[in-house]
């Protein structure tokens, strides 16, 4: 996909993406825990900087936003807890429990260093 992005960018054009990823080097069972706790697209272990370079991008920067990601997960959990009665009526007890567990598992994985979120910035060369 990054190569395709490069082709449709003008020379000097900019690419930016937020992504959630699992750091490299985790034992298989820990990796699976991280994969279960994160969104579907967080399954990759790829080094994004290398991927961008091999796709022909330059001036690559990474800005870690994991702390804000964790804050968002906690805020989602807290908000769903506050509105639990209404959510239970709206979606059912089982669905409410599932959503709360999703938030908790994701937050725990971030706290354990198993999930990160970053902003990547890059430019297509002229």
């Amino acid at each position: 996909m990054l190569r395709a992005c490069r082709e449709i960018l003008k020379p000097g054009g900019r690419l930016a993406f937020y992504t959630i990823y699992i750091p490299a080097g985790l034992p298989p069972d820990v990796y699976e825990r991280a994969k279960q706790a994160g969104p579907r697209a967080a399954g990759t272990r790829e080094d994004h900087q290398s991927m961008l370079k091999s796709a022909g991008f330059e001036r690559i920067r990474e800005i870690d936003v994991t702390a804000q990601y964790l804050a968002t997960l906690r805020a989602l959990f807290a908000s769903r807890r506050r509105h639990a009665r209404a959510l239970r009526r709206e979606a059912g007890a089982e669905e409410l429990a599932r959503r709360l567990k999703e938030n908790q598992d994701s937050a725990a994985a971030v706290e354990a260093g198993l999930l990160h979120r970053s902003l990547f910035l890059a430019r297509r060369g002229r």
């Binding site: 996909m1 990054l2 395709a4 992005c5 082709e7 449709i8 960018l9 003008k10 020379p11 054009g13 900019r14 690419l15 930016a16 993406f17 937020y18 992504t19 959630i20 969104p39 579907r40 697209a41 990759t44 994004h48 936003v65 804000q68 990601y69 968002t72 997960l73 805020a75 989602l76 908000s79 769903r80 509105h83 209404a86 959510l87 709206e90 979606a91 959503r99 979120r117 902003l119 910035l121």
Partner: protein, 136 residues
């Protein structure tokens, strides 16, 4: 745009998020957390969307492509903020339809293309900026 169809393979999470956000209380949760009533899929806060505009030096007349645009966040926000020209692309049409309705409500001009990020149907060198959030 073709009529809604079965959920494309690999987009089950997105479909679930869309269905959740149709529920009033979930929309209230989204508003409390993200500070906006606009439906949100992913974890990009308004502050982080604003950061995109700054880092990318988005401005009037620039051509922006959002890959995996979902229901229009943050592309429509960026277009409104910076007056850039935005193209929103994604595979599930249900999200793009909702993005289209949001754009119409806000009287914004934007283009909506049902396409995969792996094979974008655009001419080379079409865009000044490409964004995607929680897709890769």
């Amino acid at each position: 745009m073709p009529p809604d169809e079965a959920v494309p393979a690999g987009f089950e999470d997105f479909d679930l998020a869309v269905r959740r956000h149709r529920m009033p209380v979930e929309r209230l949760v989204s508003k409390e957390v993200f500070g906006s009533n606009a439906p949100v899929y992913g974890y990009t806060t308004p502050e982080q969307a604003h950061d995109l505009a700054v880092h990318l030096r988005l401005g009037p007349g620039m051509h922006l492509l959002d890959i995996g645009a979902g229901r229009g966040w943050p592309a429509l926000y960026l277009a409104k903020l910076t007056r850039c020209d935005s193209v929103l692309s994604d595979v599930p049409s249900v999200g793009l339809r909702e993005a289209m309705r949001s754009a119409q409500r806000e009287r914004m001009r934007a283009a909506f293309v049902r396409a995969s990020g792996e094979m974008p149907p655009f001419r080379p060198r079409s865009f000044d900026v490409i964004v995607h959030t929680d897709v890769l």
